[in-house]
Amino acid sequence: MSSSTTHTSTIGAIGAPSRRNTELALLVFAVVIPLFAYMNVGLAISGELPPGMLGYGLGLGLLAGVAHLVVRKFAPYADPLLLPLATLLNGLGLVVIWRLDQSEKLQQRPNFSEAAPNQLLYSAVGIALFVGVLLLLKDHRVLQRYTYISMVAAIGLLLLPLVPGLGMNVFGARIWIRVGGFSIQPGEFAKIVIAIFFAGYLMVKRDALALASRRFMGLYLPRGRDLGPILVVWAMSILILVFETDLGTSLLFFGMFVVMLYVATERTSWIVFGLLMSGVGAVGVASFEPHVQQRVDAWLDPFNSDVIAQNSDQIAQSLMAFGSGGTLGSGLGQGHSDLIGFAANSDFILATYGEELGLAGVMAVLLIYGLIVERGVRTALAARDPFGKLLAVGLSGAFAIQVFVVAGGVMGLIPLTGMTMPFIAYGGSSVIANWALVGILLRISDTARRPAPSPAPNPDAEMTQVVRP
């Protein structure tokens, strides 16, 4: 396959391999690694194999196995890497959450409860949703019909936390709702729904947005009225920032729109506009919103004693954790990232990886995220319909932005925002929504990689006679 002209992609081989066996092998690998990590933590903390090892391994293996069988049956040509990569992250997340459960320091906190069993349950629900997506969504193009319904649904989901009595204000950010004992982060689901809307909308409007423009200093400047959509989305993300005081969600939605706009129109100017607008918006809101202002202060000078007294020492502790991890880390179960305290196993979970696996481990984890995004973009390239292309780009873009925003916040690159690392952080909404996201990507990639049916013999070809004038 690779012998022909390199660097060019080939349209070729009818009967492309489905690669399900590759997926199975990688999946086994992806279940074994977390088991090894689990053993590692147990041996380091108590000197013996952890008790639930068999159950945990069977649980994760069972989930992965079910997912694999469903993919084999219902999406046989889907990408072979997405499922193992997601499973590995999910499994590693479970181990590290369990490891933080063992921390005596965290156990002494009020409201402590074991998080790992819950997370395993959420993972099961996530896989169930993943299976549901593959079973019910036979063709991703169906989603195109729901373009404007998705818009309404996404706005609804985003506004839910503001509804009095339903929304909860957790540590300054209103991004949670409480329904019957469960707290849900609707933004995580809105991410998927809004990608559907953006894809459907941009597919129809992209020609107007791409072609009607003037050239100025090497950039295509769009006409004033074509700026409408980006302004509306920008205004919405600013409103999210003001009323929910959540920079992460706001950045996620605006960033996603800019990425999809760029991909749909191939105009670099949108990126420039997007960066300018988000910069102006973030600075503007930070200047009057105290909660956002605090986050910025903590970002600029995390070790300032005033900052630590006013907010918390979370960022300082997180930076110390990364630093003390060094290159190779202290070893699983032997770090002190529990000093982060609140949210050590959700927003700040990457700090534990940084300390216990070191730079080498964090790079590997980030590369695994990168590979997921790469597979998503690859799916977009391979997809034959513009809606599928845009949807795949939007979903993988959202995933990438989320990873960037959280990892950047925890490492002190950008102000911290209350978002979760997909798959590895503790949080039901996040795990469930991201499994659904992977499900949709697999569905698109199955359609894209499915070999086209061999062309029907054209009866006209035999009979056509050309009559010369």
Binding site: H7, S9, A16, L26, G331, I368, L371, R384, S454, V466
Partner: protein
């Protein structure tokens, strides 16, 4: 647990994690690319390839005089887009009809203002000779310099021009 064991496990775990990443990347490498999908390189990449291709073309051109019964030996195995936005795209020739045009269901979807939606097709006749046929396009299909009026056999390496796109059959 002895310090040594823990150190070995710590490094072992990192090694296993990286092994997974490397295996995953290997899978990606071997996954290039099994489907019937038109892929375009980025424009810059396309230009580079074009330059490389032009170098190739300065090498002696493939024999064009072969005809008739000896087709089998010199039969082309792939179709290459050598100019236009799709530069660098190749399609393996396996006896299937290749349709060219702006229509989305074409084998090669031309993103070219001068192309009609069903512009031309390339197909093998009974002897395995590849034929190009204009499907009544507005701006015509050119083989070398001549505008096609009838289905015409395509010699190896002869440029088929549709708008700004040039296609060749290669071995």
């Amino acid at each position: 647990m002895s310090e040594l064991t823990l150190t070995v496990m710590r490094l072992g775990f990192l090694a296993v994690l990286w092994l997974f990443v490397i295996v995953a990347v290997q899978v990606i490498r071997s996954d290039l690319f099994g489907t019937r999908v038109t892929q375009r390189g980025s424009r810059r990449e396309g230009g580079r390839q074009q330059a490389a291709r032009q170098q190739q073309q300065t090498a002696p051109p493939p024999q064009r005089q072969q005809s008739g019964g000896r087709q089998r030996r010199g039969a082309p195995t792939k179709l290459v887009v050598s100019e236009g936005t799709l530069t660098g795209t190749t399609v393996a020739l396996q006896g299937q009809t290749i349709t060219l045009g702006r229509a989305h269901d074409s084998t090669i979807v031309l993103d070219d203002d001068y192309a009609s939606s069903r512009h031309a097709r390339i197909y093998p006749d009974r002897d395995g000779q590849w034929i190009v046929e204009d499907l009544g396009s507005t701006n015509g299909t050119y083989l070398d310099r001549t505008r096609l009026t009838t289905p015409t056999p395509v010699p190896l390496g002869a440029p088929i021009r549709i708008g700004k796109t040039v296609i060749e059959l290669r071995k």
